[in-house]
């Protein structure tokens, strides 16, 4: 080794390493939704500092782990330390199912940050390996340049400064490492000054020339458009070739609907509620012919607790106020809420941000960071719609609203519009027309189907294909078709996503019901705008029923609720299972942990066991990397009369495991000589002589542990491989 890690040179090299990795982190603030990049940069600095100081492995791990927990706590959990660790644990466990099912979009921010910390950790380790073991960094350097170049070209990030820094420092670093490699092979003679002068001179010259040279605009005006169009084309090709199998559950992207999905009974949340209703997440308004896109509007309204910013209904809707408690099992960044949300009661300083365009609500803290909620209490107005009022509703006058919610793609096949006309023939009011279209699917033999569901080809329209060709599908097919049909006859309608009211688990003594909502309950339905009433939900999907009540004119004074059709496969759960969830209003973190374990399916448990087995196997295979350190740690804090004996016997075990086997008839001296030959030292023999005195001598010679400790530690460290 020409240079060691713990020297001035080593420090400078670590400085370079830190700078290189920091170059990767700095653009993130501009190009992604990552915030507080300083915390990550500090982590990288900490990693390299610990490497430089050559602290023992376990101290490094302790420090870094501590920093990660601390940072996550500052960023997300805002609790005491113990809570933070438990919360992180909880995050990990709740992500087992998310990861095992590849639902990448559902990762929560704390978990993402946690993974990012791990990635930085690994990268820091790698860079250290490249710098000090291999003395090669070209690959990483080239990757850095590419990264900066790509970001500069395709994003808002301005890489001017970064590129100059990369040229100056990077070339210097590369040539330095090259010089070190040559020296290691003893090819280069020691002419550091000549080398440094040449290197710095060349770099200075090239930078100066680059600075002074005239800079032409790019010859290729916009590579981005070209690459994008090519990529999109390619993507479409690929998608057409294979029918995508999705998993049912909640996702934001609905731009390409269709294809089969498989059931997934992962629990999303439990709710203690008084009424059955849809659980909303968001609405979408732009139909593309393949799926749904959300409106571009970025208008956000914020409220705390009391919703005083968004009006759900207009005057004609009759409303009753109810409350519900929600206990989330999956970390989502959005709020799941019923129509008519009036207030959200949640512990902590939470601001709710409602995207007006989509009616998606994000719980955030004061500085606009998303805080996924675990438990919250809702107050909502449960509407009852009077049919005569709906029938009497005038044609919608708000032109902007009509334009937005009757949008249809230009290439919508004509027969869809014709069918809509045909269905609504003879119906006079908007309500009658809507009901006719809602009933159309029930009356014309459309089937509910999850497996054999087509994906529209490049020239197919999603709704057209469902209406005329396949005639089977699931909620997305029915609801989208209904919206398109409604819009075809000029009725403003939108597509709503969320969950059905779920499965009734138990009735509490206070007369409330406990519902369990799993991924299988993810649903989409239709809302139609009625002037004077507002948005009214409709349910076109076969086998599902609208949970809201529509009252006949004569019974306006006393509404008779529409009988609730229960789901066919509903089953009773043993009381014990329910009791576990009974205190859903304020479960402690521990309870949440147990609950999230209970929510794992057997597949996940098998998967978890396999992972555990893998981890154990891996730990066993790599034991020579960590076991010696554990032993060192154990003996550092042990106080015992028999310390030396125990330590020596433990050393024998380590050496045996390392591969230096002591034969039964081999004396300690012979073995020590063998060990020393192997390691090229005399430490084992020295230690053994002291040990012999302990064991075979008459008086129990009390050899001071501190005297032999260093010898022993050196030997234990030698067994690390």
């Amino acid at each position: 080794m020409v240079y060691t890690e713990r020297s001035i040179k080593g420090l400078v090299l670590y400085g370079f390493a830190f700078w290189l990795l920091a170059e990767w982190l700095m653009p993130l603030e501009t190009v992604s939704d990552t915030r507080n990049i300083g915390i990550f940069i500090l982590f990288v600095a900490l990693c390299f500092l610990l490497y430089f100081l050559r602290v023992p492995f376990w101290i490094r791990v302790l420090f870094k782990a501590g920093y990660i927990v601390y940072a996550l706590n500052v960023l997300f959990f805002h609790g005491p330390w113990s809570e933070a660790i438990l919360s992180l644990l909880f995050e990990m466990i709740s992500h087992i199912s998310v990861i095992s099912q590849f639902r990448w979009t559902e990762l929560t921010n704390p978990f993402r940050s946690f993974l990012f910390f791990l990635l930085l950790w690994i990268t820091a380790y790698l860079i250290r390996y490249w710098l000090f073991a291999q003395k090669r960094l070209f690959l990483f350097y080239a990757m850095t340049v590419t990264y900066i170049a790509v970001l500069d070209t395709f994003t808002a990030f301005q890489g001017n400064g970064a590129i100059v820094r990369l040229v100056v420092f990077g070339f210097f670093l590369l040539s330095w490492l090259h010089d070190e490699r040559l020296r290691e092979k003893e090819i280069a003679v020691n002419r550091t000054r000549t080398w440094a002068a040449a290197c710095i001179g060349l770099i200075g010259l090239s930078v100066a020339m680059g600075y002074m040279a005239p800079k032409h605009p790019p010859k290729w005006p916009d590579p981005v458009a070209f690459v994008k169009s090519y990529a999109t084309h390619h993507e479409q090709e690929q998608e057409r070739q294979k029918a995508l199998v999705k998993k049912v559950g909640y996702g934001y992207n609905d731009s390409r609907l269709g294809g089969p999905f498989i059931a997934d009974d992962t629990v999303v949340f439990m709710a203690e509620d008084e009424k059955r209703h849809y659980w909303r997440v968001e609405t979408k308004d732009i139909y593309t012919g393949k799926g749904w896109k959300e409106t571009d509007s970025v208008q956000v309204k914020t409220f705390e607790k009391e919703n005083n910013v968004h009006q759900w209904f207009e005057g004609n809707a009759k409303k009753e106020v109810f409350t519900a408690k929600v206990n989330m099992f999956q970390g989502y960044s959005h709020l799941i809420y019923p129509l008519g949300l009036k207030a959200v009661n949640v512990s902590g300083d939470i601001v709710f941000r409602l995207q007006v365009g989509t009616e998606r609500i994000y719980p955030t803290d004061r500085s606009a960071y998303i805080v996924p909620l675990r438990t919250y209490e809702l107050t909502y107005e449960y509407p009852t719609f009077a049919i005569d009022k709906l029938n009497a509703a005038p044609t919608v006058q708000d032109e902007q609203l009509v334009k937005r919610y009757t949008q249809l793609p230009a290439n919508l096949p004509k027969r869809v519009r014709e069918l809509a006309q045909q269905i609504t023939k003879g119906k006079t009011t908007q309500y009658e027309k809507t009901k006719a279209i809602e009933q159309y699917f029930h009356l014309n033999g459309y089937l509910y189907e999850t497996k054999d569901v087509a994906v529209p080809g490049e020239n197919d329209d999603y709704v057209d294909q469902f209406l005329f060709e396949t005639k089977k599908g699931y909620c997305d097919n029915f609801s989208t078709a209904m919206v398109v049909l409604l819009r075809s006859v000029g009725i403003p309608a939108r597509w709503v996503k969320g969950y059905t009211s779920g499965q009734l688990m138990e009735e509490t003594k206070e007369g409330k019901n406990i519902y369990q909502i799993t991924n299988n309950n993810a649903h989409s339905w239709v809302e139609v705008y009625f002037a004077g009433t507002g948005w009214v939900p409709f349910e076109p999907t076969q086998g599902f029923s609208n949970p809201y009540s529509f009252t006949e004119p004569q019974s306006v004074s006393e509404p008779t609720p529409v009988p609730q059709r229960t789901q066919p496969e509903q089953k009773r759960t043993p009381l014990n299972d329910v009791l576990k969830h009974e205190n859903i209003s304020s479960p402690s973190v521990k309870d949440k942990l147990t609950a999230s374990f209970a929510a794992l399916s057997w597949k996940e448990i098998v998967m978890g066991m396999l992972i555990l087995l893998g981890v154990v196997l891996l730990l066993y295979k790599t034991r020579r990397k960590w076991w010696p350190y554990i032993t060192l740690l154990l003996f550092t804090y042990k106080q015992d009369d028999q310390m030396f004996t125990k330590a020596y016997l433990s050393l024998l075990r380590h050496l045996d495991d390392y591969g230096l086997k002591r034969k039964n008839g081999q004396t300690l001296r012979q073995y020590a000589a063998y060990v020393d030959d192997w390691f090229g030292t005399n430490e084992m023999s020295r230690l053994t002589l002291l040990y012999e005195k302990m064991v075979y001598q008459k008086e129990n010679v009390h050899t001071e542990w501190t005297q032999v400790k260093e010898l022993w530690e050196n030997l234990i460290k030698k067994t690390v491989s």
């Binding site: 004396t667 064991v695 001598q697 008459k698």
Partner: protein
């Protein structure tokens, strides 16, 4: 082992002194001294002319002891060993004429060429430490150390020592031929004055006796005792062995180990001592089965195998 341990200074001086005469053969020299310190006797089994006499004389000279040599022949009588009482006419009474056994260091050359009657006279003296001539018991001088030699059994005209007699020797060893270079060195030294004549004594007999006392104080841990007994007991149950090592063998091994540990400046015995000495102390104390002999096994191999398999104690 020499890598880590230096000899007791006084012992080192003696060994160096002997090595002025005996070239190479550090083990033989060391072992002889072990026997001397432990108060035992040595049986050398070797062909003539490899330096047996030289070794014993050098040893005797180094410790300034009285050296005697008995050449055993088939017609040697017990009285030729022990001495006889002769009537002194002037004094008018029987007078004891001491035999060659009245010395500190005795070389009993070719002990297997004499009759069992004469052999037993010597061996009894070795065991008892005194002799009885004409009804008078006379003590032998201290220290009393016998180094007996015998020709390998196959030679003609020998009376092999019975097993019971062999047991009386602490160690049995071979000197063996010198290596090529050592033999050249032997020639070079033989050109000059016989070096044995120039040898000075290094310690006195009194010093030697006090060393013998100190050897007895060398500590043998319980675990080492167990180890010795384990080895000995395994020799008794070995399938190739007809008669195993006697308890006297265990004692001998322990005493030799004490002497060996003392020589290396230790006050306690370690398993290495036992391992080193076991072949020399034990192999003449076992009788192999005929089929083992037929298979070409020798006692040394059996002992080495037993030692290699017996677990070494590594903790108290």
């Amino acid at each position: 082992m020499e890598r880590y341990e230096t000899l007791q200074p006084i012992i080192a001086r003696v060994i160096e002194n002997i090595e002025k005469v005996i070239i190479g053969k550090r083990d033989v020299t060391t072992l002889s001294f072990v026997a001397l310190l432990a108060g035992g006797h040595v049986l050398l089994e070797d062909v003539p002319g490899v330096g047996k006499t030289m070794l014993v004389r050098a040893l005797a000279k180094s410790v300034n002891a009285h050296f005697k040599r008995i050449q055993f022949t088939p017609d040697l009588l017990p009285s030729d060993v022990t001495g006889v009482s002769i009537y002194n006419q002037k004094e008018m009474q029987f007078e004891y004429k001491p035999g060659p056994i009245m010395g500190n260091i005795i070389l009993a050359d070719e002990i297997n060429r004499t009759s069992p009657k004469t052999q037993s006279a010597l061996l009894e003296a070795m065991e008892e430490g005194n002799i009885t001539v004409d009804g008078v018991t006379r003590p032998l001088p201290r220290p009393f150390f016998v180094m007996a030699t015998q020709n390998p059994i196959e030679y003609e005209g020998t009376y092999p020592l019975p097993e019971a007699q062999l047991d009386r020797f602490l160690l049995k060893m071979k000197i063996g031929y010198p290596t090529f270079l050592e033999e050249i060195e032997v020639l070079s030294r033989a050109e000059k004055v016989p070096p044995i004549d120039e040898l000075q004594s290094v310690i006195t007999v009194e010093e030697l006796l006090s060393l013998q006392q100190k050897v007895k104080d060398v500590y043998v841990d319980e675990s080492i005792k167990r180890y010795i007994v384990e080895i000995v007991q395994r020799s008794r149950s070995n399938e190739s062995v007809y008669l195993g090592v006697s308890p006297r063998g265990s004692v001998a091994l322990m005493k030799a180990a004490q002497a060996y540990a003392f020589m290396h400046g230790r006050t306690f015995v370690i398993p290495d001592d036992v391992q080193f000495l076991a072949p020399y102390v034990l192999s003449h104390r076992i009788i192999l089965k005929p089929e083992a002999k037929f298979d070409g096994l020798v006692a040394e191999d059996i002992i080495a195998k037993i030692v290699a398999r017996t677990p070494v104690p590594i903790q108290r």
